[in-house]
């Protein structure tokens, strides 16, 4: 009997109290299988970004666990957690957050530099990723690319280290509806091609039709009755 691989993401009884004490995020459970896609919708300020930071290990929960590919990320400390995040989690942001002054290719390779990926693989993999996403001007500074191209470079960077999980934080917020649909399609296809699970958080309900699985964060946290 084959051993089932650990899920891409498993959140268990997660709680986080903001430093000002005025709001506490509670999430009883959230599970994302390998290669699964999930859209998490919630209004602005409901804690979507905080949840992503907790999953990425950029913030520590008050209690509960977050496991990515079977690893409790908060059990790791310091540089070990940073290395794990770089290797196992890819992130896409609303404003793409590409490194200024770096070419499209270099933006991908920086992510690889921070991971354990063998150095010989960096350039070929980065070139292949960019080619698969239709980026031809790979040596152009990222800031000189069009918005659509920048977004695809951001997607390529998130997938650079073959992560188990890609977190996308409002990836369509700065796009018009047509481009938003296209951007989500590119993101889903790229993650699917790389075998990465995808968790998208957004306040835009129009994206719901694009995802087979979607949840409302408000409903998830309400189930625990933890909203302040």
């Amino acid at each position: 009997m084959a051993i089932e691989p650990a899920p891409a993401l498993e959140v268990t009884r997660l709680a986080f109290r903001y430093p000002d004490g005025g709001f506490e995020l509670r999430l009883p459970s959230l599970r994302l299988a390998r290669g699964e896609e999930l859209l998490l919708v919630g209004r602005s300020g409901c804690g979507k970004s905080t949840l992503l930071q907790l999953i990425a290990g950029l913030a520590d929960p008050t209690s509960g666990t977050v496991s990515v590919a079977g690893q409790d990320i908060h059990a790791l400390r310091g540089a070990a957690r940073d290395r794990f995040r770089g290797r196992s989690i890819g992130m896409v942001f609303q404003t793409f957050n590409l490194l200024q002054g770096f070419s499209a290719l270099e933006n991908i390779m920086v992510a690889m530099l921070m991971s354990d990926l063998p150095k010989a693989d960096w350039r070929p993999r980065a070139q292949a990723l960019l080619a698969s996403l239709g980026i031809e001007r790979i040596d152009a500074p990222a800031e000189n690319l069009s918005v659509g191209q920048q977004q695809r470079v951001a997607v390529a960077r998130a997938l650079a280290c073959r992560p188990a999980l890609v977190l996308a934080d409002e990836p369509t917020a700065s796009l018009d509806p047509d481009n938003a649909v296209n951007a989500v399609r590119i993101l889903r296809e790229a993650c699917r091609a790389q075998g990465a699970a995808l968790l998208v958080v957004s306040h835009d309900p129009s994206l719901e039709a694009l995802f087979p699985r979607r949840e409302r964060l408000d409903a998830l946290v309400a189930a625990e009755g933890a909203r302040a």
Binding site: S44, K48, G86, F93, Q100, E106, C161
Partner: protein, 426 residues
């Protein structure tokens, strides 16, 4: 792709401010290095000028003035040494070298040194480096003159050229010396041109003592109302004066001072009518006098270097707002806070290193220019080379200072909160 690539890209994003700071560091480091190099090179150049004379006798007011006037031709010595005293001095010790000199005439502002043939055979302008004639020979007859290398270059005089001396001071007639007058009656013929020595002697002309005495005798006759062409037979003892004597004691090692030098020096100093100087000691004394000013210059240059380190600090702190986003992105990509710290620290160190490297280049240019100027204006030749030890120390110091200046921005980057600097994200 490496951490250094990240550092260089980060610097290139702010290329204007980075360039300015690197330039500032380079100027500071170059200035400090130039001062240190010129200091040691200048000292060496002055030491070269003292030649192989163990002692210099004159009637100047002090040993230092004696050396500055008698070997560096700063001013013509005022008081002459009488012939009788010269003869007495010659017989007082078995000198290995006894070269009398009379300085006071000039040609187009260049001092004329009247001396004996021994000046070219026994006296060395630089210790261990005898005279070399680029052209011609030493004077052998009256009214022959030998040109120092700089004199030949600057006046354009060639072998066989005729010239007349200005009597009075070392200043030219154009310089306004009211006592100067030209001995039109006696023209000198250029019979030799010396190769450069890198010493003040390059800016002098050399003729025989007897000719100089005849010029003075001519003046004496004119004062007496007699107008005649003077010959050696017209000279009286009062005409036969010199302004200095270059002395050398017998020595087994031509490059070091003999043990008898100090006792001989002390013996001669007892004679209050003359001033005795050990040229190399006087040069050291001169450097000791200017040392405090010298230290001040070095301190000012070092302060400039520290201020450039402050500029690095300010520049990096000013760039923190844009740097925070970069730091947050790198953290998301897997960089640890410690790695971020070292990346920023490397950035400031690279600025220091680039500044130091550029500073060494700036220094080389400054030294070359200074060398050319000193050589043409004062006959002091300094090889256009950096003092290697100083260069290494300044480069290391600059880089270290830059690294120290980077500690605060590095610590700020280390503490940069990630989530706040990736907004808008939700």
């Amino acid at each position: 792709m490496s951490d250094l690539t990240i550092v260089l890209r980060s610097l290139s994003v702010r290329r204007f401010s980075t360039g300015l700071v690197v330039l500032l560091v380079a100027l500071s480091a170059g200035l400090l290095l130039a001062i240190l190099s010129l200091r040691s090179a200048g000292e060496r150049a002055f030491e070269r000028g003292t030649g192989n004379a163990h002692l210099l006798v004159s009637k100047d007011g002090s040993p230092l003035a004696s050396v500055l006037n008698g070997l560096f031709y700063a001013n013509p010595p005022k008081a002459p040494i009488a012939y009788a005293q010269l003869a007495q001095l010659r017989g007082s010790f078995p000198w290995a070298m006894f070269v009398p000199t009379a300085i006071g005439d000039s040609y187009r502002g260049f001092p004329v040194v009247a001396t004996t043939g021994e000046f070219f055979t026994a006296f060395q302008p630089v210790l261990g480096e005898p005279w070399v004639f680029a052209e011609g020979r030493a004077f052998e007859r009256n009214f022959e003159v030998v040109l120092g290398a700089s004199v030949a270059r600057e006046t354009g005089l060639r072998m066989g050229a005729q010239l007349v001396m200005t009597h009075g001071s070392g200043k030219s007639r154009e310089g306004g010396d009211e006592h100067a007058h030209v001995h039109e009656e006696y023209s000198f013929t250029v019979v030799g041109i010396l190769a450069p020595t890198g010493s003040p002697h390059d800016r002098a002309l050399f003729s025989d003592l007897e000719s100089s005495w005849m010029l003075h005798a001519h003046d004496r006759f004119e004062r007496e109302g007699t107008h005649k062409t003077v010959t050696p037979s017209d000279l009286v003892e009062g005409d036969r004066v010199v302004t200095g004597v270059l002395l050398r004691l017998p020595s087994r090692d031509p490059l070091s001072a003999p043990p008898a030098l100090v006792s001989q020096y002390d013996r001669m100093r007892r004679d209050g009518s003359i001033t005795v100087a050990i040229p190399s000691n006087e040069v050291q004394r001169l450097f000791a006098i200017v040392k405090s000013i010298d230290v001040l210059f070095v301190a000012m240059a070092a302060a400039t270097l520290v201020s450039s380190a402050c500029a690095i600090l300010l520049s990096m702190i000013n760039s923190m707002s844009e740097r925070r986003r970069q730091v947050a992105i790198l953290r998301v990509l897997g960089a640890s806070p410690a790695r971020i710290f070292w990346l920023v620290l490397t950035e400031s160190t690279v600025i220091g290193l680039a500044g130091a490297a550029l500073g060494v280049a700036v220094c080389a240019v400054v030294l070359f220019a200074a060398t050319q100027w000193l050589l043409s204006a004062h006959g002091i030749m300094i090889a256009p080379q950096l003092d290697a030890r100083s260069a290494v120390l300044v480069a290391m110091g600059t880089t270290l200072l830059a690294g120290i200046a980077g500690i605060v921005p590095s610590a700020l980057a280390y503490r940069t909160p990630v989530s706040r600097n990736l907004r808008p994200i939700g």
